[in-house]
Symmetry: C2
Subunit: 330 residues, 2 copies
Amino acid sequence: MNTTEPIRIAIVGHGNLGRGVEAAMKHNHDMRLTGIYTRRPPARLKPLNPETPVFAIEELDQHTDRIDVLILCGGSRQDLPQQGPKYATLFNTVDSFDTHARIPDYFSAVDAAAKPNAKTALISAGWDPGMFSINRVLGEALLPNGETHTFWGDGLSQGHSDALRRVPGVAGAVQYTRPVPAAVEQARSGLRLPLTTREKHRRDCFVVLDEGADPEIVRQAIVTMEHYFVDYDTIVNFISAEELARDHSAMPHGGFVIRSGHTSENITQTIEYSLKLESNPEFTSSILVAYARAVHRLHAMGQYGAKTVFDVPPGLLSVKSAEQLRADYL
Amino acid sequence: MNTTEPIRIAIVGHGNLGRGVEAAMKHNHDMRLTGIYTRRPPARLKPLNPETPVFAIEELDQHTDRIDVLILCGGSRQDLPQQGPKYATLFNTVDSFDTHARIPDYFSAVDAAAKPNAKTALISAGWDPGMFSINRVLGEALLPNGETHTFWGDGLSQGHSDALRRVPGVAGAVQYTRPVPAAVEQARSGLRLPLTTREKHRRDCFVVLDEGADPEIVRQAIVTMEHYFVDYDTIVNFISAEELARDHSAMPHGGFVIRSGHTSENITQTIEYSLKLESNPEFTSSILVAYARAVHRLHAMGQYGAKTVFDVPPGLLSVKSAEQLRADYL
């Protein structure tokens, strides 16, 4: 697997994820960042490394010969449904599409674009979907007579924070998802009792009110919000704009996948995969970069079309050769 | 991936691992145990399911048409070095070869046997080597700027228990490996200070003395034993034969693989994979069975030769189809 030429990586989009990919380049010496492609005026974008060229996104079509893998760093709602299939006709791609319910459709669209063009496109990489998904599948395969629980947090949820900001009277807000310790302990214990949504997670909100807004009205609007808060024990804390900026600008996250099962009567076995992340986007980006390496290799092996993390042998993510992995890591 | 015909599994060897594979069959409905092959007189072996046929190991050569995957349940010292290459010429195989230093040679020998005969042979499956190996490789690939620590225990170490039993004056013994909590906490913290062998694990021995043996001489022989105990804080407890039988016949084990690293300055990310096993052999067997499914599929895809867990896409271990995994587990 050792090639002397570095893998040429390019980024579409320069939000938190794109910047995370840039930061990860420093630690992946078999790769080189050949460009950042943006919808903004390129001159206004400041890359971490000032030598990284910045291009308008429209130039991508002409750059097929300078990119081995294109990492799509846009969002799942607006960007990827259009960009994923579009760029998989021209490039090997990696993305973090995470709208769970729409993954089968997205997979089909990307597959239909990539396969006839002999490209390899890995969708839905990251930690959930991604590493957590792998652990859900492996947990069930290794302990078929068992139960899997996924817990998220402690962590800042972008989607729920956005939902808070849409409530009338809210000037700014963040939301932290926290697993309920008793539920985590139960999952670990092998008891295999069902856990409700409310029993598994708590939602803590930190809200800055608009001037003159009534806190009780805002609180009611939040705790009764369907899909987001009504099924949880939700705590609403009102804070000042200064406190929000000072105490809540980091993006920690994490969680657990716990599989507990029985291999024979009265024999309990427990597998747990857990993440404790000080920066959710930087970790997701690091995963995208490792999968870019795997995609480059899958493509070289002639494995075209859409792929998911379930299709990728773990060894392909490593910079090391198969021989070295067998000798030193097995 | 859904086939109507069950995968035909056979077992060589009927110790703890072989019995664990038998027990696992109940939970894997896409498989059928077609035979147990033994060096003992077949009539003396009592299978869990009395309908399972038992054969002399010499009959294996004539049974190539009734076995899809042969699971080698023998030991790494005596059995596998000979059985692995031998049976990979005739069958798809899975084994749990775990003599770390000899894995590259063993891989080569099995590969040379399997490849020209169009067979697929997965070596060194289990939890370490196996699941822990995957997590060591993924941890480093996702957080290249970091440090990995593997801890084992609390658990009964077969190799160290055997070493105790070879000490003159010892009538019976077991040894438990225990991670030192302070070292585990340090690995989780992201501090990335080196940890010595002694700092990471403690060894607790429970020893039954031969009549008339001098406990102090036995203790000294144990705690100074090279390769096994001299580099550890070792506690020797003397107990009665009754206590040994009553309190120390289970085979619990487990451990952690902790990868802690930095994605940018001051941003610490921690990945932890942990196992808590009430039966070490039954869990290892469950892993062998899941990999037997993957081997059957790899073989159907024309991927011949020796393989390790690094070469196997996670989705191939699941009984579910790729479509279902994408829809429900991603």
